[in-house]
Symmetry: C2
Subunit: 372 residues, 2 copies
């Protein structure tokens, strides 16, 4: 079976789509046309690959069958998406999920039925195609929305346009990371590590403090749960440039899960962990230990847990990759014991400069305070 | 009384804060210390300045009094924020709303009361300070979150850092517009107009189609209701470079209101319209007429109005600035008659290139199709 690979040439993507079409076409002679694809990820059919420390999808293959009333609509839609993907790759165009929806939606004459009703339908079928031909949708030129930003002494190049720029020479805005970065080449990097920051405001703070220059860091903001373009960029920075990557989030279950997704992939995209996850990223904070260490409770800089937080803590504490770690279990327990969480912005309770001049340098000098 | 002005020097901002403090200090001898400030904007106390075509705040002055149990907490908080603002400007630092919250929050000894409980409190007080010294918070170095992006043949310069870059030489990502652009200088622009696009995906589409190069456009994405940095940049591009500005949104009440906010300012920030609004922007689409003209209904590329849409249409149709316009009333009526709205992405129902090669050029060539 075809495999996910980092760089899929245009020809290879087209071959995979064509192979899918050929298989279906041949199936017609056997009387049972079907599309084979890995079953979608959820907590039940994902696997936690402990050795590689990423989430993967169980090798459970499902199929959409043409002669099955429950499947035929999805079957037809998959062919529509595959056909559009082929055109996109051939024409070297990129379409958003919403554009794909509008491009494929039409009313079938005589039957008077719409090919697609809601965008959720086309989104799901795009994911089917990803699993059927083992390519991420960026590789067949379909992209989601969502931008991050990157700042630091790194050259990037847009292969198609030939532009090259240094991400530390764009003022404090940095470069806006689009939702697909498949055409971006990573050039020279003059930095010792990558720091992924959950919040935009913290990204701005660190730039203002000249943290990247002082510490030799490339900064990336994930803006909460990172868009796919950001995840791909982190993955590629680690893989192509061999830079250590630290993740800096809020000290709450949502922040911890952002770290987990960057590191090990997410459940519903578990089939792509190899292209999106970065197993050896490390967690630089906030931890619940920080609350004590930096006296944040007395300063009123912590937030009480609500019911939703507590539920989520118990949930993620039970994910196998968090469960096996004594360090993480300690954090979860302590968060529940204290009944509080802490935001990365809370470090401003000390001073605005504190995070850049004290907190992060202190962690970097004491690797034992860094979780993994 | 002090006035809002475009460029406030560091000294001028500090003077205004000091003047406020002096006034309060002197009030103590008269026995009634108070802070005077314009009453906050809502539909009742804003004014629609028809001649200038912007929303302004009625000249209704309120005050927060020290010897008033209902006011004293807010009074104290305003002094805290003013004091922090002074430090920020002196130290040339910028703080986010969340950082301000954490910086000012502490427990008052003996009383055992927190200076600030929730961020909503400090946010509101920051707006008080804006109205008390007539400066936007960006001018005293406090900023919200929210980034847009800009692409096109325009040089920007970060005054503080000395970096200069061309926003068409950064690949397809463009430049990430931070939430405050007070230190950004606008250099040479080689373009005929500015196009503000509601959705990120449409911004990407137009870049992919090389619309900016072909049509001489600067593209900005507002990402829905534009962050303040984006509104300031549009305002300054119009003012400093005298470029015509077109706004391109969905054809629904939310899109129409995005246009309105860019053009005339928003109600709750009506006191700053002169710095944030751009009265002579024009609306290039989507209109309800487009549905007929481009046959979008037959293609199934329209969406039924829901109750919330209908309520919102009736609401904004009654705002004085929309009410006076026959053209806009026609759009609202037609939307209600048809019972449908239309997204900008819907143009993809024709082809991906359609928006760049046909729709926008057609509108630009037929100014009578452009609303204002």
């Amino acid at each position: 079976m075809v495999q996910y690979i980092e760089k899929l040439s245009k020809e290879e993507v087209l071959n995979r789509i064509k192979k899918l079409a050929d298989e279906i076409y041949n199936d017609f002679s056997s009387g049972n046309p079907s599309i084979k694809l890995a079953v979608r990820g959820n907590i039940k059919n994902i696997e936690y690959d402990e050795k590689r420390d990423i989430i993967t999808l169980k090798e459970k293959i499902g199929s959409r069958e043409f002669f099955n009333l429950g499947h035929v609509r999805r079957f037809m839609q998959t062919l529509l998406v595959a056909s559009l993907a082929k055109k996109l790759v051939e024409k070297d165009k990129t379409a958003s999920l919403r554009e794909v929806y509008y491009q494929l939606k039409h009313t079938i004459p005589i039957l008077n039925v719409n090919t697609i009703e809601e965008q959720e339908e086309s989104d799901a079928v795009i994911e089917d195609l990803e699993r059927a031909i083992k390519a991420i949708r960026e590789q067949f030129h379909i992209k989601a929305e969502g931008r991050g930003a990157i700042y630091g002494d790194i050259y990037l190049r847009d292969k198609k346009r030939g532009d090259e720029w240094n991400c530390s020479k764009l003022g404090r805005g940095g470069w806006s990371i689009p939702s697909t970065i498949e055409d971006i080449e990573i050039g020279d990097v003059n930095a010792d590590f990558v720091l992924v920051v959950e919040k935009e405001a913290m990204f701005d703070r660190l730039i203002e403090e000249r943290f990247p220059e002082k510490q030799g860091a490339i900064l990336i903001t994930s803006k909460g749960q990172p868009p796919r373009g950001v995840r791909r960029l982190i993955h590629r920075l680690r893989k192509e440039k061999n830079l250590p990557v630290y993740v800096f989030t809020d000290g709450d279950p949502w922040g911890f899960y952002i770290y987990s997704v960057i590191k090990r992939g997410s459940m519903n995209l578990s089939q792509f962990s190899e292209l999106l996850a970065t197993p050896d990223v490390k967690f630089i904070g906030m931890t619940i230990d920080d609350i004590d260490e930096y006296d944040l409770r007395k300063k009123g800089a912590v937030i009480k847990l609500n019911q939703r937080d507590i539920k989520r803590i118990n949930e993620i504490a039970n994910y196998p990759w968090f469960k096996k770690s004594k360090d993480w279990q300690r954090q979860f327990r302590k968060m529940l014991d204290y009944g509080i969480k802490v935001e990365q912005d809370a470090l401003a309770a000390n001073s605005l400069e504190f995070v850049a001049d004290t907190y992060l340098p202190d962690k970097l000098e004491h690797p034992e305070k860094i979780l993994s």
